[in-house]
Symmetry: D2
Subunit: 93 residues, 4 copies
């Protein structure tokens, strides 16, 4: 049921890298860094989070959704509906 299992180390590595970016932002603020410099790093962290979301969605489509659709029936439709809703949240965030 969890699409990223074969890939879990890489998924955790990416999240730790993003955590590092957020801690870097805290250090910048503690050192009174210039607002625009902070904003540049915020934009970089936002892009990293979006790339992470797309990576996870990839795994989810390739494993969970593909296998549910192969089996067909109401579960397949549920999976596709979930993907649409998750996609809408990503596009709007």
């Amino acid at each position: 049921m969890t699409s990223y299992l074969g890939d879990k180390d890489e998924v955790l590595r990416r999240l730790r890298r993003i955590e590092g970016q957020i801690r870097g932002l805290q250090r910048m603020v503690e050192n009174d860094s210039y607002c625009i410099a902070v904003l540049t790093q915020v934009a970089a962290a936002t892009r990293a989070l979006q790339a992470f979301a797309l990576h996870l969605m990839d795994a989810h489509l390739a494993h969970c959704v593909a296998s549910a659709v192969e089996h067909g029936g109401p579960q397949a439709e549920d999976k596709l509906r979930e993907v649409r809703e998750a996609m809408a949240r990503l596009v709007r965030s």
Copy 2:
């Protein structure tokens, strides 16, 4: 030169809250949470980062930019150009 100085505690609190969201994502992955549940929390963290960026941009416009424009001259134009570029990075991220 740093617009968020009077507001530094609140700025740091927001960043620590976002760091907490990223660590929460790591726990979800360690516990093999369902991809769609992880993606929902990624969208929430992305929105929190964007709200943080807008908060910082507010402070920057109200302090740095306003004071530079009052003094006029090339520095005012530099500040406005910086703001435009930072805004473009935010809109595109």
Copy 3:
């Protein structure tokens, strides 16, 4: 092969509504409307375009992708890869 066929009238209606929003923007500019008022309508048109994209992606997942995945094989993988790439373009746009 075209997922929105049963839905084509509604798809065209949505696009004509968005075209109307863009022409409305031209009238605002011709009448020297205030920049912020124009920007508010640009944001509304952007949201309408994104909602349109999500609507189309829905139809595509529910028809093309579902049927390709049911048949399996390399075509199913191609469809899923296409969806991922289209999703990445939407999230980044």
Copy 4:
């Protein structure tokens, strides 16, 4: 009060180009183009609208906002508040 006056022809040209993109989308749908091809053009039109918004915001910052801030007082604050709100709508759209 309208920052894009010196630039009105270029602003209208950009909007007509975007209108052309939306009509191109209608032709694609009328000709039953493949969903993914339509989605690629939707993403291009969305990016064009966002670039247009940033262009307008540029003009607004360089003219309206700069001149209001030079004069100072409550009107300057009103302008900065408007810009923040418009920026938030753009980032979230």
